[in-house]
Amino acid sequence: MPHVKCLQCRECKSEYPIGPLNACEFCFGPLEVSYDYDSVAKSVSRKSIESGPNTMWRYHDFLPVDKESAVDISTGFTPLIHAKNLGRQIGLDHLYIKNDSVNPTFSFKDRPVSVTTTKALEFEFEVLACVSTGNLMGSVAAHGAKAGMETMVFYPADLEQGKILGAAVYGPTMVAVEGTYDQANRFCSELADAHRWAFVNINMRPYYAEGSKTLGYEVAEQLGWKAPDHCVVPGASGELHTKIWKGLEEFEGIGLIDKAKTKMHLAQAEGCAPIVEAFESGNNQVKPVRPKTIAKSLAIGNPAAGPYSLEVLRDTGGTGVFAYENSIIDGIRLLAETEGIFTETAGGVVISSLKRLVKQGKIKKDEVTVAFVTGNGLKTLEAMGDFVAPIETKPDLDIFQTKLSNRKD
């Protein structure tokens, strides 16, 4: 990690040596990795990146770890698809889907977790841990397995089976915590103080957050080294939204792309939209809410990066938009039926919010728009409800033909 300078407090700018530390000693503000960008600029070019691996590690110069030691299960460099069918339906000529649901554990979480796991080995941790409601724990369990670390995942006891199995298969210690997500989270922050464990979303958070920048880099590279006019990003803690923008800003800063004029829109679900509500009220404080949404992966009532996500919305001219609860499944099905991509509820929130942004005139027909699809539909099957109505037939040609023509009427 030749280009890393230190950790720096986002609030008071105090600096700290690189270590497993996430809060400033003075003001308790969040810490962020700080880089020597002159040094980055000297070692990268479009060519050097293009000749790198077809994974997120082609951008290792922008990450706080050495690529030689990367714990990599082949994450990233996921497809950017020109979504012509969906675009035609909603009135956009240049709509792209960044399909990050095809990562090894089927969500974008593999990006931040790959960086964190690498860093945890570097800090000589023996235990990798997280608190999660699903996507994160699958990714942590897989990376822990690959790294040969002991892995502990904590989750609220009432989680869906798909998510529990999707983590358990990699062999971590599974800990089902009684109570709400909030309570599990509080419990884990106490555990993080009591044990020397690498908690990916607690004491390792500054490194974790960096991994998501690679989504911004990839989109710019895949568009031919250009930032899009619009990004529509799903938001829970707000971290992903701020990091995609940080990625675009860094590329601009060292001259890999021209000035990024991207409007960074944030999509939340109606039943848990604290950042969008703060945006709409013009308030720069985020009021915590009690989540009540089918988009469980986005159900964070007290978003840690909320104030920074609001800053990005305002700095870029983006809009905070929510998807009505009853439109989330429609969004999932619309993407599936037009582009052949089955996303989870977070993706449904994005597609439904995208439609609203176009209707409101916030996105114009000829503008380049990227919608981020960050998780796979097979993880949230329960949410889809009962919409399958097959033709039920005996294996008999006549019966089938009759039923088929009845169906077509």
Partner: protein
């Protein structure tokens, strides 16, 4: 001695309550405010609490019972 770093979020109707003062007087907790933002309609305070034995936990339970939201500083990401 036990110390905890927490964030209090006050709804509008509790902004004027002397919650932090009472933690000191009624529970004997030493409070040390690090950052805060108080508006007309809501406010938050980031602070450290220090006290003997279980008083910090007892104090926090009382704060929660008043309707103020308490979050830990360390782990404020709840994941998807």
């Amino acid at each position: 001695m036990m110390t905890k770093r927490v964030k209090f979020t006050f709804p509008q109707e509790l902004i004027k309550e002397p919650v932090i003062y009472k933690l000191g007087v009624d529970f004997g907790i030493v409070t040390n405010i690090r950052r805060a933002d108080i508006r007309d309609d809501m406010g938050w305070v980031v602070l450290e609490l220090e006290g003997e034995g279980d008083v910090v936990d007892e104090g926090l339970e009382w704060v929660i019972s008043t309707g103020v939201r308490v979050d830990p500083i360390a782990g404020d990401i709840i994941e998807g």
